[in-house]
Symmetry: C2
Amino acid sequence: MRLVQDLLDRLAEIGADPPGITREAFGAGENAAMALMAETARGLGLECGVDAGANLTMRWVGSDPSAAPVLVGSHLDSVVHGGNFDGAAGVVAGLAAIAALRAEGFRPRATIEVLALRCEEAVWFGLGLIGSRSLLGRLPKGALDLPHARGGRNLRDCIAGCGGDPGALGRPLRDPRRIGAYVEVHIEQAPQLIEAGQPVALCLANPGNVRHPHIRITGEDAHTGLPHRFRHDAALAGAELALALERLWLDEEAGRRPMAVTIGRFHTLVERHAMTVVPGAFEMSLDLRAYEPAHLAALEAKLHGLVGAVAARRGVAIDLGPRSAAAPGVMDAAILEELAAAAARQRGLAPPRLNSPGSHDANNFAAAGVPTGMLLIRNRNGSHNPDEAMETDDLLAGIGLLTLWLAGRAGH
Amino acid sequence: MRLVQDLLDRLAEIGADPPGITREAFGAGENAAMALMAETARGLGLECGVDAGANLTMRWVGSDPSAAPVLVGSHLDSVVHGGNFDGAAGVVAGLAAIAALRAEGFRPRATIEVLALRCEEAVWFGLGLIGSRSLLGRLPKGALDLPHARGGRNLRDCIAGCGGDPGALGRPLRDPRRIGAYVEVHIEQAPQLIEAGQPVALCLANPGNVRHPHIRITGEDAHTGLPHRFRHDAALAGAELALALERLWLDEEAGRRPMAVTIGRFHTLVERHAMTVVPGAFEMSLDLRAYEPAHLAALEAKLHGLVGAVAARRGVAIDLGPRSAAAPGVMDAAILEELAAAAARQRGLAPPRLNSPGSHDANNFAAAGVPTGMLLIRNRNGSHNPDEAMETDDLLAGIGLLTLWLAGRAGH
């Protein structure tokens, strides 16, 4: 489908920042991508609007005002030097599905709405899923005061500057009970579909997470010659904590309790560190994720135990700093079966049912009680890196499923 | 002694850079400290000169031109936000000992020379002991092309800019066989003398080192959601290597084979890392030290084994990058006994004999075959940090020993 490739190509131009793609949330990249989607939506006859969270809504108004609207969406921001498809593919999929339905002469009974949600990536504020949090009244306390990683403007001002109304946030912008469904198409961030040889998967659940963006370990700076018994090396304490968390992960996986640990920032202090100074300060981030609320809570308790043990053994202080959390998102069983039924009508498709490696805006919809579904698209080389690689044909397979499903859900 | 406290106070003013002291090698701090020492030396009637390595030489010419000169010295640069005494205390000690000898009416037979050596700290060029290397023809190949950490000017230009003659380097500036002795006074960089309750120690040996200032680990950037089996996390590889080297250290110490490992820089890449990106790149420095050449060589072989094992297990590439090395420095037995005899004449002194925690310019003199000795001065809180703390009275005890020893060596 020509529309899909055109939109992906134009998004790549917007975000070009070699190596890879950068579409800064609440910045030039995300705004230009939003404008491109709105322009495309207007061309398809959709009504565009901006909600109080500065999210873009693109509505194909249905014939029955009493029917709960059916939402399709994802996000348009990227990480720094990331790929073109993480997020954006889902917004493109929504518009493409509507274009396909229009071409077939379909007329919706329930309103179909494509959402381009703001700032899904946690790199910008140390907190992710911001657009869907805003929409569903799930921004944590103090979130509006967080500074943007580029320039330091707080979230409140960023939202206001993009046409939102931060004063209206804090409660749901729309009643979750009046949303018929939310379905998100998103590239898989792992190569499980490459392994499986399938273009699309049906998602069972998204992980929730507990995050500590700014963990600080404080030991004592010292000379290279200091004997080991006198040292309080903050970096080695960080190394020990990191490997202990990795060990925990492997043990849990061996017990068939899926989870993940990511330590993306892990560093001595660039303004202080030197080859001949034992590092007295170390910083790291932590993203701990799991698929069940009780499991996630148990893992967080284990994290605290490991932190205490490493701090005591090495005579350092470990301050976990700010904490954010996102609830695991379990997908709706009825939507899952509808998507499976749609797949059964498509030749050559046998979509596996997988846990999503990543958290998504869908988590917030599921947590708010909206019946939620996700389609994962095959993607070589993972995501959040310049080598992210989704084949357009695989996205088209996902769009085909989405189109069939929308026809059933929003039709007569 | 008033001179000592005055010089230390004026050095602290020169280097003031809260928290702590910064005297940049070949920069304003080291140059101002050199000027202060030269001014003081001229006040004591010494002849000042600058050698081809831009080292400052301050000579009290002896009556017997055939007697090999006796050298006393250390360095005046510091690390960034370091302390006031690492290096500078030794230069001050040399001048103070000469002042004491002059006050007693002593007239030297052999020339006594105080050396203020350039750029001992490795932070400036990723290579330490530069002044003594220059003096003794021990600069490694390519050293003159190394860029300064601040501003990037190469070592060649730095030396020329401070009055040296880089074209004359590469062979010894003076014949080591024509140097009678080199003795260095230096603060201890560990609290072993605090433990021992003594102001001064006699040094047995200085460690040599093998250094890799820029180790680079390359894995693959990836999304937080990537399952463990697909990851090539460069930071966790760094953590594993660091803890394996610490384990090696503890095992060697348990076997009474003294050594040390310091990883001062240990970091994901500040321009790339993010909480939700599995780090595909990691950098670290390594300083590996030991007191015997054969032991150091064996440790380096073990390092290579660990690097290969971690790289293979984690599917990452580990590039050790540039290597520098300094030979262990074993102190001269005759000088050690002369210093011990001097101590026996001082009430209350019972200096322990210790391995130095740190490498020093003395290493180069010992390696060049010059009879070499060192006195270590008690120092709380270690070195290379703002809390470095030497009591002036402890330095005066060391100066007393040095003075007695010089009287014996350079006298009639």
